[in-house]
């Protein structure tokens, strides 16, 4: 019994099943299938039909055969840039889930240091920035030809709006973040000094949860070489202090940014 004759018989069964055996008798099973379902105990048309359907389904599923050989699809051009390391991939997931304020810096550092975006990040990045021409353009720069190729195959990844021109400045500059003037002066301080002031202020309660957005922005833009010492200082906040929770959150931000920059250095 060939795959074609089994398929033909199955189509006959589907037709009878649609109408019901009250209206049409089941077809006679062909060849070996007849032996499989031969049973005088099955007297009614519906019982004979069910037996055929079960046997035919089992045979079709167990007899799974490959479909036709298909043409290869055109592959994208090779990108000579090295792919970013797996730790950077994990970091991007952490950043987008917890510290989106760092995402622009992640992308600009990657592009600036000559890395290529890991392909497993591309679908998520292209979906995430369908409506943001600046960030989407950065993704396409970081992805190279693979980005254009992927979008060409999957309409779901196309941008929501028609092409918008993006200036080179907008592409390469980090967006400005609002930081209170009394905190902004710390942007250029050494890590130990900035860390000590922040830790003392948090411990004393003069910086609290209401200041969190400003503190997040500060740490997202503070000198990169200050991050590790800053994190150490914030880590020393008294666990009994009311600001300990805030300090812990800021330690994670500082550590995340420090590691992000290390992973994307070359």
């Amino acid at each position: 019994m060939t795959t074609e004759s089994m398929q033909e018989h199955w189509q006959q069964l589907v037709t009878v099943a649609l109408l019901g055996t009250d209206r049409r008798d089941p077809p006679n099973p062909p060849g070996p299938l007849a032996d499989l379902v031969a049973d005088t105990a099955r007297s009614s048309p519906s019982e004979r039909m069910l037996a055929q359907v079960a046997a035919c389904t089992a045979v079709r599923r167990a007899g799974v055969v490959p479909g036709p050989v298909l043409d290869e699809i055109v592959v994208p051009d090779t990108d000579a840039r090295p792919m970013c390391v797996p730790a950077a991939v994990e970091r991007w997931h952490h950043i987008t889930a917890s510290w989106p304020v760092l995402e622009d810096e992640w992308m600009l550092t990657l592009i600036g240091n000559g890395w290529r975006i890991a392909p497993e990040l591309l679908p998520a990045m292209l979906l995430r920035h369908r409506s943001d021409p600046v960030r989407r353009t950065r993704v396409m720069v970081g992805a190279g030809d693979a980005g254009r190729w992927l979008v060409g195959h999957l309409a779901d990844l196309e941008p929501r709006h028609s092409a918008v021109s993006v200036t080179p400045e907008a592409l390469s500059e980090l967006p400005e973040l609002p930081i209170a003037p009394e905190l902004a002066e710390m942007l250029d301080w050494p890590g130990a000094e900035a860390g000590a002031v922040l830790a003392q202020s948090i411990e004393a309660g003069s910086l609290g949860q209401s200041h969190k957005p400003m503190l997040v922005n500060l740490i997202a833009r503070v000198r990169p070489d200050a991050l590790r010492v800053l994190a150490d200082a914030l880590n020393s906040v008294d666990p009994m202090a009311t600001g300990h929770g805030l300090a812990t959150v800021l330690v994670d931000l500082a550590t995340t940014r420090h590691r992000m920059l290390e992973e994307l250095m070359r």
């Binding site: 209206r23 089992a58 799974v64 479909g67 050989v69 290869e72 992927l150």
Partner: protein, 473 residues
Amino acid sequence: MSAAQSLATPTRWSQLGADRTGVWGSFQGSGAEPYDTMVDHARLGFACSCPSRQTPCKHALALLLLWVRGQIADTVAPSHIEAWMQRRGAALSRAAAAADNEAGELSGGGNATGKPDATDGSGATLDGAVIGDEQPAPPTPPPDPDRNTARDDRVARMHAGLAELDRWLDDRIRTGLADPSLARYATWDQLAARLVDAQAGSLANRVRRLAGLVGASPDWHDDVLAELGMLHLLAQAGRRIGALPDSLADAVATTVGWQVRQADVLAGVPDTDEWLIAGRSDVREDRIEVRRHWLRGVNSGRWALALSFAAYQQSLDTSLPVGSSLRADLHRYPGPALRALVGTRYHDPVDHPSVAAQFAASACSIADGCAEVGVMVAAEPWLDRVPVTVHARLARAGQAWALADSTGSMPILDLGTRAFDAGVAMLLAVSGGKPVDLTVEWTPHGVVPLSIHLPDRTVDIGPRANTSFVSAA
């Protein structure tokens, strides 16, 4: 025994008591009704109202542990315990008489009493029932009438449920799939509820999934008819379970929904190997998120399936990272089932280049992959997910995607026009259209890509649970 030890706490028991022949008590398990457990410690017999097929069950062992620790006071046996003891005494007497007769007929076989030789070299007697590593295994205790009654009741209910399922299928086939009642969820849900009552929970889940196929695609009649055929096959096999070979009978029982307790599975012989964690997929089934981890033995080449479940706000298992390998004992469910529980782990999952090489070594062509799937489905035609690792590239088959190589192609499961297929997007991005090693789940409607095995890493691309429903997704 380890399962029993955690239950051997007096606070979890009520109506505890013992006398010179027996020990008894009621254990409050996860069900609404407590399990009544009785042990004949003098003549070695057990009875428990729990559904475990293990003899003795963990409740009986826990009861014995409490008794040997002196945590059960002597008291007068309640009437139902006394009745059970009397029934046991009568049954044992009949068995002894039958053995006497048989020994007499054999004239000269056995010992002077005609009973089985109850002594071994150390002098332990059958009555004393000393069970130790050095002792020969004692004869199997006679079947317990009460325990068998409970099981028989369950089997009878299941048989009745399967008969009702077959009648329902027969009605559907008579009236036809164009019958508008099939479009109503209640039509399916009522049948599913009756199957749950009949202890056929797995079939009930299958029926509810089937309800979702009605009208879901232009070819839905085709898909629904095939599933009705599988339900008929299972209903027929379930009703003839006693006539099936043991292994197939176990497979049918598990597929129909016969509950096997985890402790019983863990008590089985382990399948020890270095297990490659080849793929993962999360699927919402009713109100439960089900995570499937597909593992493949490096030495045996055998597949195994580890399941975890999470209801709303609960966590799925994250201890089996895809792309790593783990030396562990797997305990398989009865029959040829792929499903297993992970027992002892001999180390944490490791992820190094040799693991990637092992994945590459296990990958086969599309044609060989189809043959591998066919073998597994021929053994259990009702399987609706089968894993396979192939070396293939993405290709277009009209508007749909497929995996292909020089031996043929396999269609990728089409999620419909409205769903963004993250798996295909990831496969396309990571492979760049070139051939890769990948683990997929075969389903009757197409394959689901689960993971891509690259020389330096494995990328997990399987369907992932919604984090707003369960955590650790």
